[in-house]
Symmetry: C2
Subunit: 164 residues, 2 copies
């Protein structure tokens, strides 16, 4: 393989703050419900769906696994909507994001989730495609349903290599 290598980082809301939200139960809950049995962390994702008739949809993704080290040939972004990924297992997955540099992705960063962490990408945030480390991994995805071109892809001149 060729290209620069990227080291996996632990996923924290601090490091992820400019890209989106880490979907996790941390800190104090906003409400205690169900007669004290359940903590509610309320409305923790910036959901944004732009364009006439656009709305939130809930989909399920079932993905084959990546194995580390893995090749990152491209990233994508969604100009019309945010995209949330909720893992339906405790298995970790790799989250790749990149800052925008004048309309193109800058140097990517790669994060490894812990059990109980999902992510929400802000609208128009460069990110890698779904990269679980276990096969047939299931994710609930909350993203935009609607007309219009909501996908922009960028292929790197040389792929990056994501190392464990």
């Amino acid at each position: 393989m060729t290209g620069h290598s990227i080291a996996l980082e632990s996923l924290t809301s601090w490091d992820f703050a400019s890209f989106g939200e880490v979907l996790e139960a941390t800190g104090n809950p906003d409400m205690i419900i169900n007669a004290g049995l359940c903590e509610r962390f309320q409305d923790i994702a910036t959901l944004e769906f732009i364009g006439e008739g656009a709305r939130a949809g809930l989909s399920i993704f079932r993905s084959r696994a990546q194995s580390l080290p893995c090749r990152l040939s491209h990233v994508e972004r969604h100009p019309l909507g945010s995209q949330a990924f909720v893992p339906m297992s405790v298995d970790p997955f790799v989250v790749v994001v990149a800052p925008d540099r004048a309309g193109k992705p800058g140097t990517p960063r790669a994060f490894l989730t812990r059990p109980g962490q999902g992510v929400n990408y802000f609208r128009n945030t460069w990110h890698g495609t779904l990269a679980p480390l276990t096969d047939n991994a299931l994710f609930a995805v909350v993203d935009r349903i609607g007309d219009g071109n909501n996908l922009e892809e960028y292929f790197f001149a040389e792929p990056y290599l994501i190392n464990s």
Copy 2:
């Protein structure tokens, strides 16, 4: 304990059809994405959020466990919005629903999920509160964020007993 008992059923979309959707990857996917690596089951939940300024929100619930047999003292419903529960683990949980009978819940039914199953309750569907069988269970919840009274509760004269 008192009251009638309810036997747990396996959760299937057929049996659940009048109450909401089972959130799972079954049948043929609607799209194949990510260069063939990922199946997308598209827009599988009836998300409905009523009222001016109401919108979809994503929250995290962390719940203590129930143990079977468990007591069902009441159900609730949300007149202004649907509510989806996505488990963030493969641990099963108990899903209780009841048909509406002239504004009150009829006889409840109780379902046990399999790994990879979540649920979306239609707006105004009577349902039990979140009932995982493991402690500190995490769920991503997609429901209505907005003003207005979106909770109606009904307490049974005699609690039901849910048996495994």
